[in-house]
Symmetry: C2
Subunit: 223 residues, 2 copies
């Protein structure tokens, strides 16, 4: 159990080799493991959950407006780490993200104060932190470019193809409401556009399902 | 001259006290100073300009779509530093930003390799870097929330009030085209909305000018 945990963090934490024996034991002692079911909220707004490491599952990160509107920022898969969930120990992070389990998740958590202690003692941990924050900044910039520069029809085509690739199937069990939340738009907009896609022969719509019937045409649409 | 330069970087670079004497001299030797006129491009896309420190002036940072559409990300004022202009020495930064002088600018530049050398040798420099990247991520998240969650009329009111505060005047010399570029929308949208604002008595429009005539009502509008 401990050996398995050790192997996992060695892989995820690029700074592992730079820790001394005491620090390694300290980390392994302080790590806790938790599971979340699909659909549950893992981290919400101002919580200071700590550094999250995904052992298995899939997490969606999003921001939430006062009126309840969402937009997806990035996703975390097996072996990914998230530092924005411990913003309490990071200076200059002034926004709140939310994390939701998109599939059943097993997650290792390093408490925020433990991460801070490591980071204060070890430049390699600071590098890890900078690289994670930079990666998220790049993700968010990408989303913003999509939102600002790309028309909604291209974003929808892109989203469907991405989901099909993540799920490994062309038959997506997803509601128009969920798609709308992911794209930060209204359900009506998505429904109208999906009907257009159906008329064009790119998808077939069934209750609670979107089936991709012409990937090539959809891909052409995203260019 | 050197004393003045030293005083300035001491203030801007939070890690200055953590450098030893040799490192301080090394930095001061390698710094160069350049000026840009209002409207000139300071940094463009994939350039690796280095760490910029604004002695005086005002810089607008923006991203650019293939079709030439822009969106403003953040602004830099006296004493601000920008690290995203040396993304070549940073891992995981996969986007390109552009920097434009909004006023005549005097800028001190630390070449990217010099910054990297300091950062490799000194944890305090890594902290500085993480804090800068985190601050920019927060800026970008704020812009995204604006773009995604806020209606265009609120954003326009917000923008006019911000400009008036930056310029220190209610008489803004700005074209509809420039406003549209800042908000990432079309000129027609801005013109239509400004006319509505004018009808509501919040602004007066003149050739190349927008004059704020009812700040209180405009502020009410942003809430």
């Amino acid at each position: 159990m401990l050996a398995e945990k050790k192997e996992f963090v060695e892989e995820v934490l690029s700074f592992w080799d730079a820790l001394d024996k005491n620090q390694k034991n300290f980390v392994l002692e302080k790590l806790s493991e938790r599971s979340w079911k699909k659909g549950q909220i893992i981290h919400s707004g101002e919580d200071c959950t700590g550094l999250l490491m995904v052992k298995s599952g899939q997490i969606r990160s999003f921001i939430l407006s006062e009126s309840g509107k969402e937009i997806t920022l990035f996703r975390l898969f097996d072996g990914d780490a998230c530092i924005l969930s411990s913003s309490c120990v990071m200076r200059n992070i002034t926004f709140d993200i939310h994390l939701e389990a998109e599939k059943d998740c097993d997650i290792l958590i390093m408490p925020a104060p433990v991460f801070k202690q490591l980071s204060d003692a070890n430049p390699a941990v600071k590098d890890f932190q900078t690289e994670l924050v930079s990666a998220r900044l790049s993700d968010v910039m990408w989303v913003m470019e999509q939102v600002v520069f790309m028309s909604m029809d291209r974003r929808l085509a892109d989203f469907l193809l991405e989901q099909a690739s993540i799920e490994g199937t062309d038959e997506l069990s997803i509601t128009h409401e969920t798609i709308a939340r992911n794209l930060g738009t209204a359900r009506e907009v998505v429904t109208r556009m999906l009907k257009y896609f159906q008329d064009e022969g790119m998808v077939t719509l069934k209750r609670g399902k979107v089936i991709l019937t012409n990937r090539k045409k959809l891909m052409y649409f995203t260019q």
